[in-house]
């Protein structure tokens, strides 16, 4: 009886030691690092995380070569220099603090109106999360973005190098706003081109001065669109601006159904018409021919019969 209890106790002691050593091994390999949910490995792979090092141990025995009075130590409270001292990973907090400091430093510089500030695409929240590799709330990241937007408003001619460098860390790799649309033109034959989309249809239009003839995919308007409404939609841009008998349309349409094709043509003809007569833009906008209709079919979800329809409820 006595011998068996001794052996059990010894085994437990060995196991606890083993567990400890294994844990230490994990930590040294960096296995317990935080992986935020929903962050793809792509983002993680590109991040350059600074190695987090613990603060050096405080030495209370001496200060400036003199021994410290122990009564003083009982009276004062030691406050860490950074509020992130006690957090597991300080990247976000330090980042926020540095941006706040930067703003405080340069807040007296003259600013431009928000409309005149250069358009910048900041890193998306998910992207940032992958970069800092620590749990951050979206609202917190938004604070940084607000500061960045304020800093971005500093007059471009006075923009300090320091701010530029800091903002660079939060900019997306590719700025989509740098992508400028190529200016369209009327070619030597008097033809202007336009591209329009609606739902899943795409329409390409070649517009030239003429008598109001329309060919869509080599067919007449009546052969292409049986519905009168679709025909009127297709040439709505010309009709709304009283240009029906001034231009000939040659179009190629693909994808989608008849309504989508007709409304893709509306947009394409409007764009081609704007190349010929740019002053028609307000009229065309009033007629609803300038903006692409972004609505598309909502995806089907699991558990639903369609996008939103649920199966009939049954008692059991």
């Amino acid at each position: 009886m006595k011998a068996s209890s001794l052996s059990i106790g010894f085994r437990r002691a060995t196991c606890s030691f083993c567990r400890l050593s294994r844990q230490a091994q994990y930590e040294s390999n960096g296995f317990r690092s935080f992986h935020p949910p929903g962050v793809s490995r792509r983002h993680l792979a590109t991040t350059t995380t600074s190695p987090v090092t613990a603060a050096p141990e405080l030495n209370f025995s001496k200060r400036d070569g003199k021994p410290i009075d122990e009564r003083l130590l009982k009276r004062v409270r030691i406050v860490p220099a950074s509020p992130s001292y006690f957090s597991g990973k300080p990247v976000f907090t330090d980042g926020l603090l540095s941006m706040q400091a930067l703003l405080r430093k340069f807040q007296t510089l003259p600013c431009v109106e928000p409309n005149d500030a250069p358009r910048v695409a900041w890193k998306r929240f998910r992207e940032y999360l992958g970069q800092v590799n620590e749990p951050v709330k979206a609202a917190k990241y938004h604070k940084i973005i607000q500061i960045l937007q304020r800093l971005n408003r500093i007059h471009p001619s006075l923009m300090p190098e320091e701010v530029t460098e800091a903002m660079k860390r939060y900019k997306r790799d590719v700025n989509p706003h740098d992508n400028q649309a190529k200016p369209s033109f009327v070619d030597e034959n008097g033809v202007s081109r336009g591209l329009g989309r609606r739902k899943t249809s795409t329409a390409r239009v070649w517009l030239v001065e003429g008598e109001g003839e329309v060919l869509v995919n080599g067919k007449t308007l009546t052969q292409t669109f049986g519905k009168l409404h679709d025909r009127e939609s297709a040439i709505w841009a010309l009709k709304a601006t009283n240009r029906t008998d001034k231009y000939n349309v040659w179009a190629l349409v693909s994808g989608g159904g008849t309504t989508g094709q007709a409304e893709a043509l509306t947009l394409a003809i409007a764009k081609a018409l704007l190349v010929q007569e740019p002053l028609l833009k307000p009229a065309l906008r009033r007629a609803g021919c300038v903006t692409r209709d972004p609505r598309i079919v909502e995806r089907k979800k699991p558990g639903h019969l369609k996008a939103r329809k649920m199966p009939t409820w049954v008692k059991r």
Binding site: G212, V214, T220, L221, T222, Q223, L228, R231, T244, D245
Partner: protein, 414 residues
């Protein structure tokens, strides 16, 4: 379980044929529509003059009666919207008027002209046929109209092989009787024409028997319809002479929905094999005169017109090929050939190849304007008919297709 009571209809059930009569009813006048001032009527003097081109003309009363009896008006056409039937003298109509004007049984111009009217849906093929018939009536011609070839082939009427016919032909006696009915009612001139020679007929025929009386025999007894029709046709195609009762005017043979006449019919032989439309006596009669090679001429001259239908047409590759070949020949382009590795109905191709094709397309803007002004004058279009309105209507109707023009301007508006 509780037995539910069957609700009995409280209203009267429609009588036999009532629904069909309603379906087939053609309304040619609308007293709510305004009368159009200054619109001339069609007559012999203005049917081929260039001045009338691009203008609307009314159809005179007797011609309207004849056309109605010949079933030339269709239910789907918009006659019921206007005070009286009126038609546009488009360029093709004026050309047709010239043809009819120049043909004459008495002179040397005893030609037989064959044409297939082809075009898009709503381009006015059937109305062009109607216009040709109207002008033929005005000129005192005999008009034989088959309003829809589909009626001949859809197996809705009694049929039987004609004994001793070589090749075997099938006769539809009720349809022959109704053809005679249309012929007799729509051609009042038949009452002035008498038999020129004795014929063998189950009933006694005197030399004073008019062709109208002969037709009436066939109408009253469908068993006599085919003999009556053959005698009538022999008489109509006999040489014309100036003696009263023996004159034989030119003939207009008209058929709509040609594709139905070129494929297998829905009738079956005794061995349950489909009967080709060409083996039906009535279809074969028409196609004999439409055929360009070898041609069978009308002895007193005349027109053989076959209109295609774009909305109710079975697939007929032979007709499609013949039409495209003829149009290519007219335009001086390369004539398309049939892919020898694909099947084609050679009988159908022989029947229609080489026949002139009259392509009907959209109206010009001037013609479209005349039509829209007529609509406005009749009170069915409220908009101001100006260049803008005409241009829009012309474009939306696919380049002035007259049927689409009517649909867009009149029917789809409230």
């Amino acid at each position: 379980m509780k037995k539910t009571k069957v609700q009995k209809a409280t209203s009267r059930a429609p009588a036999i044929g009532e629904r069909k009569a309603l379906r087939k009813r053609v309304i040619l006048s609308n007293t709510n529509a305004l009368e159009v001032d200054g619109m001339p009527d069609l007559f012999v003097g203005n049917m081929a003059v260039p001045e009338v081109a691009g203008k609307m003309v009314g159809l005179p009363g007797p011609v309207v009666d004849s056309l109605r009896a010949a079933e030339a008006f269709k239910v789907t056409q918009g006659w019921s919207l206007f005070r009286k039937p009126a038609v546009l003298m488009r360029s093709e109509t004026v050309e047709m008027g010239k043809l009819i004007q120049n043909l004459d049984a008495q002179t040397e111009n005893r030609k037989t002209i064959r044409k297939i009217i082809a075009g898009e849906r709503g381009s006015g093929k059937s109305v062009l046929l109607l216009q040709a018939m109207a002008m033929a009536y005005l000129k005192g011609w005999i008009v034989i109209n088959i309003p829809d070839a589909k009626d001949l082939v859809q197996n809705h009427a009694a049929y039987a092989p004609i004994p001793d016919s070589q090749p075997l032909l099938y006769l539809q006696k009720t349809l022959t009787a109704s053809l005679l009915d249309r012929l007799q009612k729509s051609n009042p001139i038949l009452t002035t024409l008498t038999l020129s020679k004795p014929h063998t007929f189950p009933l006694p025929l005197s030399p004073q028997t008019t062709l109208s009386d002969l037709a009436l025999h066939g109408i009253s007894d469908p068993d006599l319809a085919w003999p009556a029709f053959t005698i009538l046709w022999t008489e109509l195609t006999s040489p014309s002479s100036p003696i009263p009762g023996a004159t034989r005017p030119p003939i207009l043979l008209a058929l709509d929905g040609l594709a139905h006449a070129l494929i297998n019919s829905h009738y079956l032989t005794r061995d349950a094999q489909p009967i080709h439309a060409h083996d039906l006596a009535l279809v074969s009669f028409f196609l004999r005169y439409l055929r360009a090679s070898p041609p069978t001429d009308l002895p007193n001259g005349g027109l053989v017109l076959a209109a295609m239908s774009a909305s109710n047409a079975p697939s007929c590759p032979a007709l499609r090929l013949a039409v495209s070949q003829s149009l290519a020949r007219q335009r001086g382009e390369e004539v398309p050939e049939w892919d020898p590795y694909r099947k084609i109905d050679t009988r159908a191709l022989e029947a229609v190849s080489g026949v002139d094709v009259l392509g009907v397309g959209g109206l010009s803007k001037v013609e479209a304007r005349a039509v829209l002004e007529y609509y406005a004058a009749s009170g069915v279009v409220r908009e101001r008919v100006d260049a803008r309105y005409v241009g829009e209507a012309w474009t939306v109707s696919g380049g002035g297709l007259v049927g689409e023009l009517e649909r867009g301007a009149v029917r789809m508006r409230v």
